[in-house]
Symmetry: C2
Subunit: 623 residues, 2 copies
């Protein structure tokens, strides 16, 4: 739990870093230009012991969301923020201009307010906006045939350096992808083409140059999101930033800041300036605070100002519940659990109070104009998602989904990147139709779901009830999975809950990657299994999604250092080990004079293995 | 963690009980004769608060594996064991006889050994065996058209008293069962017919009369198994019994005793005499101990004696790795993780050492003779199950599965009940073929799988990697799921790990029941969701699979008693609650003069609801 640390630095105030993962180092793969430096985590593995063949095990490269916080060569000063890795790319496109200050009224007020001065991030940059008449979305570039540095960065990142690992860890089962276009290698051109046709998004606001680009789409690695929300009363700004770091340390690909309360404007600035991953928000939450929580008093003007305020800070995607239409609202009255989305219920209340369609719906094209001026992506919210198994896949939910499809078409007319949010609570047999309907209704725009939870009866374990659904919908084609913690329905997650939730969702996403047959996905599994068979305990911990927990569980039973090089484990003990007997089987086969046995044992040499099996089988039959 | 308690009783030694679940009482439903008393847990729920309509919520009945330990009217003296609920049923069939003492040599030796006297269960009964020429298996009765009391008991138990709950908690989505024969109501005749055709088993040794009958088959509720193993050095016999009780308290349908070490004969006696659920073992483990761990020194005679020893104690099912054939063994040499099943590796080693088929395979019909004399069920072990994603679904695994199918046919010729064990480590997209192949190769004999784990990269979280696979294979038709704890691959599970593992598997099994459309499966979800919407916090805890954890998580954020009747929760706080807004939506709809609104809100009144929606939608459009 001490992995995120604050240190006092020589200059101004505190610096934050994340402890490196064990046996790991940060490496960068350079792209076509020196300023494309794609980070990966390189895990050094030990040699195979002599009795298993004494071979070298090359390092394992894995996707890394932790930013420069795990780079010992970089010291991050919280008060200065991260280096703007995308600055030159944005600048050289020549289609943006720096503003003199925030153009939102609220942003101006906060900046002028002496009472918030002590909370303010010290190095606020001038906000950037598209020049008049320009569209700065990645989709817009993609549709013009431009491969941006962001796209090339992503292609390198998605490939995970698998070429370097093919020798030892190869071997993967064919996937079944339900019609996805899984590529053997991700090229920058493929990234471009997927963004151009709307099948993937690159959430990357021009005001968030610190961002390390990533992509959300079903032909790429399945991503996960972790939520972060201040607990109004006590959290300091440093604590909020630390929560974000905690989330990316365990593998969060994006973080949603769902904070409410007084200083969310300033908190958001700090989070953005220090975040290497895309940040999403639900702007209606802040807009509601501006009208003291009275949903019916919300106006387009207040909401619009909030969008601009947040866009100029650098928020990368907005959840917008524009699909909640007036005629959908009564469809929820017969539900067992009504409307459970906060955004959805706010908009439903507004619609009822005004007897009209919501300003999100009626002003949707104006919202698109804002989105494309900063490259904020839509995350079209499912305000009417089911909150119980009983309410799954009902008319309200699917009615809204169809509206989200119509809105997607409009967004795409503006070249605005768009993903679609999904449920919620759905039993296992009804998940697939959600994916199929979303792909059809929303023209393959990326799907981003919360779980879904496959039963209601296990509060305290909803990371698990939902991971079952998440793995399945990820397999079916969902592009990003929003985590659910074990505190869901019960309380606010603490750090331990966040860690459990993120790792659980990494499992779901990885299970989906394997199932879809994402190239190279199985290498980490193979490396783990090889280490397991060879009793390389340290390597098993180091390859694990949660090395600390794996080690501590092992040490609970066998705490001694010697146990970590022992050729047995606590399950069977030293005298009775199935792994050891397996080795005996191999030795026996070798002893019987199979010349090619050593080579046959190497992973993936199928032809040799086949020959070995045939010969082996023959030998035993003849005796 | 204090739910299982030892108390000192007036007579001889300690009495054990399990704390009742909150707001729950043990009830019994009587069958066609007074001695068929089927236990259920009845959860009392509070009334709906006035602002939600002030209705009575009838009690919820749920399946109960905890035996009389949660019946305050019964005091269990560990040293005397449970009451033999099946005694009269077995006795009156008139096809068994009492023996003067154990007929196994080992059983006789242990009984005569003064050194083990202090460990011995005090009230050992005379063992019972089929009279010469008789077959006492439930399958044998079923095939003769006899509905045994066990079968009737099971029919009542599987129906879960859902008729009593239809009024309030009804409403269920259609399942998709992949060709299973899901029944609207389970009749005793259906139980009989499923057992007769081998699609379900009733593990119920005639020497385990204390057993509360249960069934394993894909047209019944999905069951889960928890493993129990003594930790050689320190465990006392009381501790072993307590571990079993801990497992059934959280919902284990069967318990496998995988103990090794010195006093397993005596420990097993204690466990059986105090267990209301079927107990399974892997007899080869004990046989191996009898030859000091030297696999190659195992003989048919030693193994046979072990089978009889355990059968006469009352073990209900035996895992027997008779499918490991000599020609399969070399198929594992090219694997990444070899043979990971302990039983499988023992047999593989034996086969190699002797250059011949195993005594389990060659003496299979003699084993059947033993099984039918006591009604022990086969759990045909998958000794060659894959231990890594890489090794999934390979020739060794599927070759063994085909052999298990051949053995099933032989077992059925003897009317011996049989289920089939399955993997292991299998990626998501390759699970379904496991189920399909098992159904085909083994003629729909029940499948009983370990997980499967859907990735190798998360040691410390393998309850989750495997629950994903378990929920899916349960949905596809697997009848029983063997739990995996979070310590898997790392160490020995402690009580907390067992609890987490069991509850995680209850989730997987329940998700599968919902997905298959098992009748009434959704009632508990509906009751939970109704309580959730109505802010009945105490009811939410009480309905949960793990009431203690749900309550403690809630109390971490909102510890005050008043929060448990508050109409909000910690996620949104009192001023901003989507559930509350949903109620506003309902109130608004009511206020607008929809006469039928109150009725429309009631769950399941689809016709009225439809009408309501139509009218509701119309109203908003007209305004």
């Amino acid at each position: 739990m001490s992995a995120v640390r604050q240190e006092i630095t020589a200059d101004s105030g505190s610096s934050i870093r994340i402890d490196s993962y064990p046996a790991s180092e940060k490496v960068y793969i350079q792209g076509s230009r020196p300023d494309i430096q794609v980070p990966m985590r390189k895990i050094t593995l030990s040699d195979t012991p002599a009795n298993f063949g004494a071979e070298k095990n090359p390092p394992l490269y894995v996707y890394d969301t932790s930013g420069v916080y795990t780079d010992p060569n970089v010291a991050v000063n919280l008060h200065k923020g991260l280096g703007p890795v995308r600055h030159a790319w944005i600048e050289e496109r020549g289609d943006t201009e720096l503003l003199n200050g925030p153009s939102s009224i609220y942003g101006q007020e906060r900046l002028a307010d002496p009472a918030t001065a002590h909370l303010r991030f010290e190095h606020i940059c001038q906000p950037r906006r598209a020049k008049s008449g320009h569209n700065v979305s990645q989709m817009h570039y993609a549709r013009q045939g431009i491969i941006t540095p962001e796209m090339e960065y992503i292609a390198i990142r998605e490939n995970q350096n698998i070429e370097a690992m093919r020798g030892t860890y190869k071997g993967q089962h064919p996937g079944f992808s339900f019609g996805a276009a899984i590529q053997p290698v991700i090229t920058p051109e493929f990234v471009r083409s997927e963004v151009a046709r709307g099948r993937a998004i690159i959430p990357a606001n021009i005001n968030h140059p610190e961002l390390e680009p990533m992509i959300i789409g079903r032909n790429f690695l399945v991503k996960i999101n972790g939520n972060l929300g201040n607990s109004a009363v006590t959290s300091s700004i440093e604590e909020e930033v630390e929560k974000m770091l905690w989330g990316i340390r365990w593998g969060g690909d994006t973080i949603m800041d769902l904070s409410t309360g007084k200083n969310i404007h300033e908190t958001r600035e700090w989070i953005l300036r220090n975040s290497p991953v895309p940040i999403g928000t639900v702007p209606i939450y802040q807009a509601l605070e501006k009208v003291d929580g009275k949903a019916e008093e919300l106006t387009w003007e207040i909401y619009r100002d909030t969008l601009i305020e947040q866009a100029e800070q650098g928020v990368d995607y907005f959840t917008i519940h524009a699909g909640v239409r007036l005629h959908h609202v009564p469809l929820t009255a017969k539900r067992l659990t009504g409307i459970v989305s906060r955004g959805g219920s706010i908009m439903a209340k507004w619609c009822l109070a005004h007897h009209t369609e919501s300003f999100l719906y009626t002003h949707f094209e104006e919202i698109c104009e804002i989105m494309k001026a900063y490259d904020v992506s839509f995350s079209l919210g499912d305000g009417l998602r089911p909150g119980s198994i009983y309410d799954a896949n009902d008319a309200a939910q699917f009615g809204e989904l169809e509206t989200l499809g119509e809105l997607t078409k409009i967004a795409w007319q503006h070249d605005v990147q768009t993903m679609i949010e999904g449920p919620g609570h759905v039993p296992l047999q009804m998940i697939k139709i959600n994916m199929e309907k979303q792909l059809e209704d929303c023209f393959e725009a990326p799907f981003y779901t919360l779980g879904p939870l496959t039963t209601d009866i296990a509060p305290g374990y909803d990371h698990i009830t939902s991971a079952i659904g998440a793995a399945n919908i990820g397999w079916y084609g969902c592009a990003m999975l929003c985590y659910v913690t074990q505190k869901e329905h019960l309380g606010l997650p603490n750090k331990q809950d966040v860690r459990e939730g993120i790792v659980t969702y990494k499992i779901a996403a990885h299970a989906a990657d394997l199932a879809k047959g994402h190239p190279g996905a199985q290498m980490r599994d193979n490396a783990m299994s090889k280490a397991r068979f060879e009793f390389r305990w340290e390597d098993q911990f180091n390859i694990a999604l949660d090395p600390e927990k794996a080690r501590s569980f092992h040490d609970e039973t066998l705490p001694k250092q010697s146990a970590k090089v022992a050729h047995f484990c606590s399950m069977c003990g030293p005298h009775f080990c199935s792994m050891k007997i397996s080795q005996d089987v191999r030795d026996y086969a070798a002893e019987k004079g199979l010349a090619d046995e050593q080579e046959a044992l190497k992973i993936g040499m199928d032809e040799k293995s086949k020959q070995f099996i045939e010969e082996g089988a023959a030998i035993y039959h003849e005796i």
